[in-house]
Amino acid sequence: MREFDNYSDFIDEAEKQGMTIGKLAIEYEAYQQDKTAEEVKTIMQARAQVMMEAVLDGLQGRKSLSGLVGGAGKQFQKYMIDGKALCNDFYGKTLAYSLAANEANACMGRIVASPTAGSCGIMPGIFLAAKECFDLTEEQIIDGLFVAGAVGVIIGKKACFAGAEGGCQAECGSAAAMSAVALASMLGCNNQAASDAGAIVFKNLLGLVCDPVAGLVEVPCVKRNAASALMALMAVDMVRAGITSTIPLDETIDAMGAVGAMMPAELRETARGGLAVTPTGLAIAERVFGKKS
């Protein structure tokens, strides 16, 4: 199995072999793990199950230990059911589920880091909402998760996933871009269009800092998960409408990595900048820990 340094390499190889990116990514992973394609698919299926359970866990509406978050996913779900939402069912479900899965994380629930825990609401939100709204099969979901993984492989090589290294753009930006490419593929876009959806996400989330209030993965993480998930949906809607990305996905990933490297430490998960040092942020830190963060 060859190495893939660019997402365009995945596209070229898949097209050369006459297979989907999902199928190629499954073969890639089977090779990497020294397992059969069926074995890696089974592991991914178990991950998908944990993702769905995390959404359900979050929808219970428990509060986090600090009391800062919890219940927003449940609240938005009710608002949807009451028929008050401005957005359609798919957007609304994605929003509610992304909030919920990330709230489950804040409550020390069991989640899949996808790619990180701070961004763990995005993929479950999008995949579960898509499954429900577009009647996707289990097979399509697993395939889609591997497409997201293929994008992740390139992000990991070219840039990074840790907020402490590249800010929130590396966490929520990556999760949303990976999901956008996967969702576009699952909904039948061609490889180039799907790749453009990922590029559009990075273009819009580039520079997003990691500034957790009191250092907790709560504020603003929960809402950024929901917003990033919707960014992915918007990007997929755009490419489905035929809109293209001027900057290709691979170059947006390079840009994300470079921007992360330029980011001061204060804005990389240290709770020393951004929202964390607003008067309210500092007051919360003092309340939670009894001292200024």
């Binding site: 992973e29 990497q32 793990q33 020294d34 890696v40 592991i43 991914m44 178990a46 991950r47 944990v50 986090s64 600090s66 489950a104 994380n105 804040a106 409550c107 020390m108 629930g109 069991r110 989640i111 899949v112 880091a113 996808s114 790619p115 990180t116 825990a117 701070g118 763990c120 993929m123 998760l145 591997f146 997201a148 993984g149 293929a150 992740g152 492989v153 992000i155 990991g156 090589k157 990074c160 996933f161 840790a162 907020g163 402490a164 290294e165 590396a170 957790p212 009191a214 250092g215 907790l216 993965v217 709560e218 990389r268 998960e269 240290t270 709770a271 020393r272 939670v288 820990f289 963060s293």
Partner: protein
């Protein structure tokens, strides 16, 4: 770069780097010590130091030192479990130079009195890297089963150790070496990361080689 490492691991929240990575660093440190930990002095650097309480980094490190996985529900109550297991621990801040922002220093004492000083970093998404064992600079991520060999810094010793792998048909994925001092008075640490699970008697055979002082197996995480 593996897809199941990116969409994964399954873990207890809230932070892959500060909770799951911290648990895995604790577990790796215990594996390096090679026995149950009874005393742990833990020093936190950078973002670990600044935000550990908010992420349950301390709970996760202790869970790891107890041998728990990052998705173990007992992680939330690890301090209580440590008390029951007779593990005494303390946390303190430290400022290190030229290390990853999420770095922890372990000073461990095991049940037989064995001691180990270990430095490691949580490098994102739950991935870890052990950077120091004792005074040796290393680079170990727990991906592969490994064998650590400490020996005199003399010519030919690497070839002798490598020949044992050849006899056992073990493929070396990565090999790293670090040394303190030079020649027979000096000491080398060689770490072989391998593609196969390692048989228990491998260390016994390697320890028979002239100049080998110590050898132990580190299972993959």
């Amino acid at each position: 770069m593996k897809i199941l490492d990116i969409i994964g691991p399954v873990m207890i929240g809230p932070s892959s780097s500060h909770t799951a990575g911290a648990a895995r660093l604790g577990k790796m440190a215990r594996l390096i010590l090679g026995e149950s930990v009874v005393q742990a002095k833990i020093k936190l650097h950078g973002s670990f130091r600044d935000t550990y309480r908010g992420h349950g980094t301390d709970l996760a490190i202790i869970a790891g030192l107890l041998g728990y996985e990052a998705d173990d529900d007992r992680l939330r109550d690890s301090f209580q479990h440590a008390k029951e297991a007779g593990l005494e621990f303390s946390f303190s801040p430290v400022a290190l130079r030229n290390v990853h922002p999420n770095t922890v220093v372990f000073e461990l004492t095991g049940i037989s009195g064995r001691k180990a000083n270990i430095v490691g970093s949580s490098i994102g998404g739950g991935a870890i890297e052990i950077t120091e064992i004792g005074n040796y600079q290393v680079q170990l991520d727990g991906t592969y089963p490994s064998i650590v060999v400490i020996c005199s810094d003399v010519p030919g010793i690497l070839a002798k150790v490598a020949s044992v792998f050849s006899i056992y048909s073990i493929n070396i994925a990565l090999m790293k070496q670090s040394r303190q001092g030079k020649g027979a008075a000096g000491e080398d640490m060689m770490i072989f990361e391998t593609d196969q699970q390692l048989p228990d008697d491998l260390c016994t055979v390697i320890k028979r080689i002239d100049g080998v002082k110590k050898s132990f197996i580190l299972p993959s995480l």
